[in-house]
Every structure is written in C-alpha cells, then in structure tokens.
Symmetry: C2
Subunit: 541 residues, 2 copies
C-alpha cells in the first residue's frame, strides 16, 4: 500500500477507535451509570469526543488527502452533490469506483481506497469547520441535557427543560453555520437554511424542500387511509392489555433475537429509558429496549427494530473494519433496515405464523383462546396514540411529519421553545385527533432533541420509503419470502440485504444505493401501496 | 488561584477524565463486552490509555512544575524517599504541609496545593520515563492477555498462556527499567531490582527485602497457628454446601451492601469472572462479584471486600475531585480497607448477630435448624483450599506469600514461566498441604498477572497488617464497636475511617498515614494477635 494511504488509514482508525470509546461511554450512560455519576461522565465525554475531533482535524490528514490527489468539488453542500453525481454513475460494479463526487486526479487507487479517501475527505472537511472548543461545548451540553431530559420527563416538567433545549438549538444552528448553511441561497435556487444543513448531515442530498414535497402528499394519503380505517370495525385486542411478566418478555425477546440471527458473540441487548442501537466495534453492536408489563408488543417491536439496525452494522464488508466506511451510510437507510424488520417482517402474518406458537408458550394465560389470526389483527390494530414509539404503522409517519414541521419552525424562527408544547399539542390534535395528557407523553417523549439530534426525525419516514422500495426488489429476487418467514427462516433475506445494501457501509451515498438497488429515485408510492394493501385486507376496506 | 496552578489543574483533570474513560472501557470489558469484541476493545484501550499518557507527559506540565518551584529529591526511587521523609514529619495537622519529599522552594501554596503539586510531580516523572509506544504496547498486550487468560483458564491450558505471560513479564521488567530500577544497587545498600520497582509502584517505600523480612516470620507464625487448628475438632459446615439460589444470593448481597451504606446513586454492583473495584468518577464507583450456587459465602464476601474498596473511593475529600489526589493512596492501604470490611467486620460474631436473621429469610430451607453461633463457626472454618479468594483468614496470607516468592524468582531469573506451574504446585503442597486438581485452580486462578500487575499480590497481606493496626486504634476511639455492629449500625466506623484515612486520598504516603493514625511503623503483630485471639476462641486452643 502507498505510504500516504497507509498513514491515512492509521490516523483514521485511531480516531475511529476514539469515537467508539465515546460511544461506549454513552452506552454506559444510558444503561448503567449511577445517577450522580452524570457530571463526571459529561466531562469525560467532552474530553474523549474533543480528542476524536482533534484527531480528525489533524492538518496531516488534509495534507495526505491533498497529496493523494483528492480534489473536492467546490460546492459547499457536499451531500447533495455526491448524491447527484453518484446517481449519474450508479450501476457500475462494486469493484469499480462507484462514486464520482470529487475527482481523484491521476489516481491509480483501487475502488475501495478511492471511496475511503472520498468519505474521509467529507468527514475531514465537516470537522475542520468545527472549532475544538465548540465540539467540547456540544458534548458537555448534550450530556447534561440528556440527564435533564430524563429528569424533566419523569416529572413532566417541560419548563425545566427549556433552557437546555434553547441552548441545544443555538448550538445546532451554530454547527450548521460552521458547515456553511444558513447563509443566502446558493445559485440554482437550492435551499440553504441551517435546518437544511442538519437534514443533510443525517440524510445527504435531501433538503427541507424536497422532504416537504414528499411528506405533504404522504400526509394527505395517510390521513385518507386513517379516515377509512376509523370508519371500519376494530379488531379485538383486550388480550394485549393483560399482564405479561417482564422477565418472560425479556426471555421471549432474546429467543426471537437469536432466531432472527442476532449473534450474542458480537452483540448484546440491554435496557434503557429509550431504545437505541450503538456500534462500539466491528464485533460489538449494542441494542437496548424497555418493557411494559401491560403491553407485550412495545418491548418486542423495539427489540426487532433495533435488531434491524444491528444487522446492518454487523453485516459490513470486513474490509471496511476500523475505517470511516464501517458504518451505515445514513440515518434514513439505517431506518429502512430497522423498520423493514420491525414492520414489514415483524408485523406480518407470515412472521406471526412462525412465532405465535412460541409466544404462547411464554404467555399461555393472557393468550388463552387467542389464535394466530386474531393475534395478527390485534398486532396491527390502527389506533392513534400520543407516543410515537407506540404508534401503529399507519399513524406513525404522521408523528414524524409533525416533528419535521415543528423543527422547521423552530429553526426558521416562527416558533420559540417556550411555545413548543402548545404547537405540539395543536398538531397532535389536527393530525391524529389526540390530546397528550401531559408533556411527558407529548413534547418530552423523545430523547433525540436532548442529544442535539435535530433533522433526525425525518429519517424515520425516509426509512419507510427506502424500505418499501427495497422490499419490492427483495420480493422479486426472493419470491418465496412469505413461506420462508413462516418457517422462521431468515437466511435469504439476510443474504439479499447484506449483498445489496449492508456490505457497502458508507461506500455508496443513499441516493446511489437506492438507484443501484431499485433503479429508481426516492418515492412514497411503494410505502403507501404496501399500507393500502395490508390494511385493506385487515380492515376489509 | 495562581495562573500556573490553575493551568496545572486543568491539564491534570483532563488526563484524569481520560484515565476514567479508560477505566470505563475496562469495566465494560469485564462485565459486558461480547466475546468477539475483545480485539477492537484492546485497540480502543491502547488509544485512550496512550492519550492519557500523552496528556501526562505533556512538557508543559514539567515547565509548570518547575515554575511552581517544585524541586524533586535527587533519588531515583521516590516512593522510599517520600515514605522516609514523610515519617519524619507526620503528626502535623491536616491543614499544614504534611509531606516533605521534595522541596517547594519559597512556595506560598496552601497545603492541599503543595500535596497536589508533589503527587503530580511523582506521576509526571514516572510517566515521562515511559515512551508512548511502550505504553500502547502494554495496553494492547494486557488486553489480549486478559482475554487469553479467561480462555486458557476455562480449559486449564497453561501452555497457551505462556507466551502472553512471558511477554507481560518482559514488559514489566522493561517498565521497571524505565523507572530506574534493575540497575546496580544504589548507595546505602537499598535493593534496586526490577521487582523492587514494581513493588514500589503498588506500595511506595517497601522493597522486596523489607517485605520478605515481614513475611518470613509471619509465614512461620501462621503455619504454627494452622498446625494447632488442624489438631482441633472442626465445626460442622455441611449446610454451607447446600443449594443457595444465585438470584437470592444477589438479592441478599444487595441488601447487605445497602445496609453497609453503599449508595446506589454513586455506585453499582455487577458480575464478572473475577471480582474487582474500579473508580469511573467521583460519584461513580463500580464493584463486581461472582456467585456459586453451592457456596453462599464466596459471592457475599467478595461483595463486602469490594464494598470496602468502594467506601474508600467514595469517602475522599470533595476538594480532591478530578485531581490526581482523588484516589486511594496505595494498593496496600486499599486492601486494608477491603479486608477490614470483609474479615474483621464481615466475619465477626457481631456482624452475623446483626445479619443472620435476615440471611435466614432468604435461605430458610438450606439453613433449617442452624443458629447464629453455628453459622459464625462455619463461616470461620479454617480449611486450606487451593483457590486464594475462597481461602479462610488464616491460610489466606500463605497464598499471597507463595505468590510473592514466585514473583521474586520470576524476576530474579531463577524461575522460568514454563516452570511456574510446577513451582506453584510445590509451594502449595509445602505451605498448605494441597495439590490443585489442575492449573485452572492453580497457577491460572488469578487475573492479576494477565493484567501485567506484578508486585500487586503482597498488597493483600500488607492490607491485613495495616488493617489490624488501624482496627486497634479504631477500637480505642470507638469503644462500643461490637455493640454497634450487632445493631447493623456502621456510622461510627465509617466516620472514623473517613476522617482518619479515606479523606486524604493520596495526600499522605502509606507510611505517613500509618504513622499519623497509629504512631507506629508497619508490623505484623496486631494481625497475628487478632488471628490468634479469634481462632483460640473458635477452636478452643
């Protein structure tokens, strides 16, 4: 290997190890940390994340990138450019250079190394734009805000969370500013707000305008479907509100995870206030869930959802190990995997024909007299609820669209943090006909904002869209999927997902990946088609 | 605060946060890490520990120490010097400068800051002597060796562990060499072997010669006591080998911990292959244990032992927070606390008069017909066993003396690693009359060597010696201790330990602390006196 390239890999893997160490500290904070330990942990995270940042902004990386002949495109917003350029060249084989953003002048590097250099260049440029003190300040603020969120949520005390959220929004706006967003619109009329910058961070290539153009019609179609369902008779689901021993729930979830192929030599399941997945190493992916005694599905579907994220991270090409390529490419693609496992597979009739007999062995008493078809109908009962993670498949996306619209307003200045609960409740009433009983089940329900993750929520719906586009192709390639799911045989699904999507890590941009796998641009049609067919059958509409 | 001093504190706390982050990664490795995650974790630890080292050897720290007027004593082996010098000045009040090693020329710093500067100077000098690559190599080797140890111990496959141990010993020797040990004897005839350097690291001021001078006679007196006990009738203890549900054991241990004052807002208990205590923050101390179904005492006494370590770390003066002073001063003093709680308190008649009724509520069936006096006698049954952590109080120190003698020989070159199992088994036969059934319960039983911790074992016996010297003073100061223990009232004991020992952290050297608290030099007499009295009563000898 070229000496410069070898040095670049050494520098990159060192900072990746440091980022993984920070991820381990965060995982610990959510799952294990004694309550009074939070202050020291915030300091530790600030130091470790600050150093990870320092390692990335090392000028030597810039010099090596220059010497390797990488000439970044002049555009400020690289995600959009990479996406557009990638679309033009997608379809070439995996061993050729599949990305053309930037120009590797006269480079003879193998395709994998060219992708490595391109992605590292993107990370490097994003990072050099953030001052080290700012990065430390973000880490410290987020550490304290997460602890405050957990506390204020417990007491439904939004007022106590306001200063944290205001500070986090100011920091997020500042961050987008450092990345060159929030100034006047660039030529060609593309939007360039701070919020666009945050969206681009999570989903390169998609701005608020394009997302709004997808989400607007989607909201209408979902509302129409929801109205039809509301007029139809509801399935019986009283048995889902009986007592389901939490220890038994945990045992069943572990059996399901193992059955799905979750490898406990490389991954683990724990509990936390809010379910999440984090990657601590190539062979160390951690998921969490929470259980509710009178709702056996809440914990289970969180487990399957996070399991879907974990399968992505655990199926990367080993050649990417310890490099900046060794991650899922975007939040949206990640959500496509988790939501595919959770909903398309996990809430299917075929899945439950496979698992219901096992489920009954854990919960014979609460499920007495219930058959698999009744259970399948109850699992998919459409009944709007105020908490996003407990929402049914049809109303779920409306929860997310609500958050997207509120984030837009928080960042364009038409909504203040203090006004947020009122705006939240108004939108909840309008889209879902619901009134949260307090802020704990309203505006304080999600951990995301306390982590400074603005522009993240749309990924959940984008994941639904990508996911169903992928699923249509998977069904063509693996025609007997339904029969396999009934037999709890997930091998062909894993293989297709690994070979078509997972193995690439960050080598392909989301748009490139989508085009490569489906030959199409992003669309809400397959997702809506899937919902309309499934719920027409379920509700006889 | 003086600007230089403030800067020194900032640099020190940054590296302390990094060390705590490394401790968190290590804790996770022992308690949570998926088995295949060990390789990446070793890399992460190498990076984080390497950076903590880099932060400590920052030349700016050296310059600040110089500017603050700290003139280190010329002697190479600072521990011994600090100890001797400290002994000369001990007895002055806590708010005056209680340490005189080195000279703070013309300094007007408050006593606490002088101690801070002196201890940081010691850490700095120790660290600058170790090259960064060497530190990383140690971390990497130890990470892999610990995983290998766990595996080879499972299979009792010492041969597979040999290359790891050889490499660890070579690195430890190299480390002592960097610190100036292992050369020709210094003037005054003090020993100066590599092993002396490792002992000094764990217990400043005590070399192999002085330890051997204490351990030799101790071994004789313990052997004599053991012989007398062997000739006396043994108490009944069959009920201790019945089945004790592990979940119930865990619940009882948590009740005992809470009763002893273990604060779950600042500390937690988990499980690992080998019990340990680690400090992740001023309000974040973690202990671990392991349970055996047919031995209810193994897990419990580990919990009390580690709890004793935790009480020390949780009782430091808050003024020391995030600084290099915020730790127990040495392994020996640390062990004095853990062994005091485990043995002197936890295996006392008064303790069990307090807890036995609670214990019986957890284990009514296996303890049917057993009264507290029978239980107390069974708890203290002297019966040599091959595993150190399961040993009774009388034979325990012989296990340690055996390890001390083997370490001496490994480092003076009269014993090779390959010969170790044979030498281990021969000494086990001679001192305890035992033959381990395999290397898993012999030479592979302890985690310490796999962590590169040579010269650590003697601390356990030194802890017994310090502990009983402290306990004699505590009994004078708190005369109704026995009655308080019977009432499960540990307040006065905690207060005395905190005020006399814990609060100082590293401000006083072990020798200074001992002299300050007891007015005496280190001695085995109180320990042997305690054992002889206790076991004369128990065995009627």
């Amino acid at each position: 290997m070229n000496g410069d390239l070898a040095r670049l890999h050494a520098l990159d893997s060192e900072r990746m190890h440091l980022s993984r160490a920070a991820a381990a500290l965060q995982w610990d904070q959510e799952t294990c940390l004694p309550p009074l330990g939070v202050e020291d942990r915030a300091e530790q995270l600030a130091v470790v994340e600050g150093l990870a940042h320092e390692k990335l902004v090392n000028p030597e990386i810039g010099e090596l990138l220059d010497r390797l002949g990488f000439k970044p495109d002049a555009a400020v917003n690289t995600g959009a450019v990479a996406n557009a350029a990638g679309a033009a060249t997608a379809g070439t084989g995996p061993d050729t250079a599949v990305n053309a953003a930037g120009v590797l002048a006269g480079s003879n590097l193998p395709a994998l190394e060219r992708d490595f250099v391109r992605v590292l260049d993107r990370d490097y440029r994003r990072a050099v734009q953030l001052p080290p003190d700012f990065v430390r300040e973000c880490a410290r603020t987020e550490g304290l805000a997460q602890a405050a969120w957990a506390e204020t949520r417990k007491n439904s005390d939004f007022a106590a969370f306001v200063p944290h959220l205001e500070r986090l929004i100011a920091l997020a706006r500042q961050k987008a500013g450092y990345w060159g967003w929030g100034g006047p619109a660039v030529s060609g009329g593309r939007p360039n707000s701070a919020y666009d910058g945050l969206l681009d961070f999570h989903e390169p290539g998609l701005g608020a305008e394009r997302i709004a153009a997808l989400f607007g019609p989607l909201r209408e179609r979902l509302s129409a479907l929801l109205a039809k369902i509301a007029a139809a008779p509801q399935p019986e689901d009283a048995f889902l509100h009986r007592r389901y021993d939490v220890r038994q729930q945990d045992a069943f979830c572990r059996e399901v995870l193992a059955g799905l192929g979750f490898d406990s030599r490389r991954a683990r399941l724990d509990r936390s206030a809010h379910p999440f997945t984090t990657t601590l190493g190539f062979n160390d992916v951690r998921i969490t869930t929470r259980y509710q005694e009178t709702d056996p599905l809440s914990g289970l579907f969180s487990v399957i959802h996070e399991g879907g994220h974990a399968f992505y991270e655990l199926s990367l090409d080993p050649a990417l190990r310890s490099s900046c390529l060794a991650e899922g490419v975007s939040m949206g693609i990640h959500e496509s995997q988790s939501r595919l496992w959770e909903n398309v597979i996990g809430r299917s009739r075929a899945f439950w024909r496979g698992w219901f007999p096992r489920f009954k062995t854990y919960f014979a008493s609460p499920l007495e007299g219930v058959d698999v078809e009744q259970f399948y109908r109850a699992v998919n009962r459409v009944f709007p609820l105020p908490v996003r993670v407990e929402a049914d498949e049809v109303s779920y996306s409306l929860h997310v669209i609500l958050r997207f619209e509120l984030e837009q307003r928080l960042f364009d200045g038409t909504l203040t943090v203090r006004e947020l609960p009122e705006a939240w409740n108004a939108a909840m009433k309008k889209y879902l006909g619901l009134e949260p009983k307090d802020d704990a089940e309203g505006v304080l329900q999600d951990v995301h904002w306390s982590m400074g993750a603005f522009g993240y929520f749309p990924s959940y719906v984008l994941g639904n869209l990508y996911g169903l586009q992928f699923w249509e192709k998977l069904r063509e390639a693996v025609p007997d999927t339904g029969a396999a799911l009934e037999k709890r045989d997930y091998g062909a699904v894993h293989t297709w997902l690994r070979e078509k999507i997972h193995c690439f890590g960050r080598r392909l941009s989301p748009g490139e990946l989508l085009l490569r796998v489906t030959g199409k641009e992003l669309s809400a049609d397959p997702f809506v088609r899937y919902l309309e067919e499934k719920y027409a059958d379920l509700y006889g509409i």
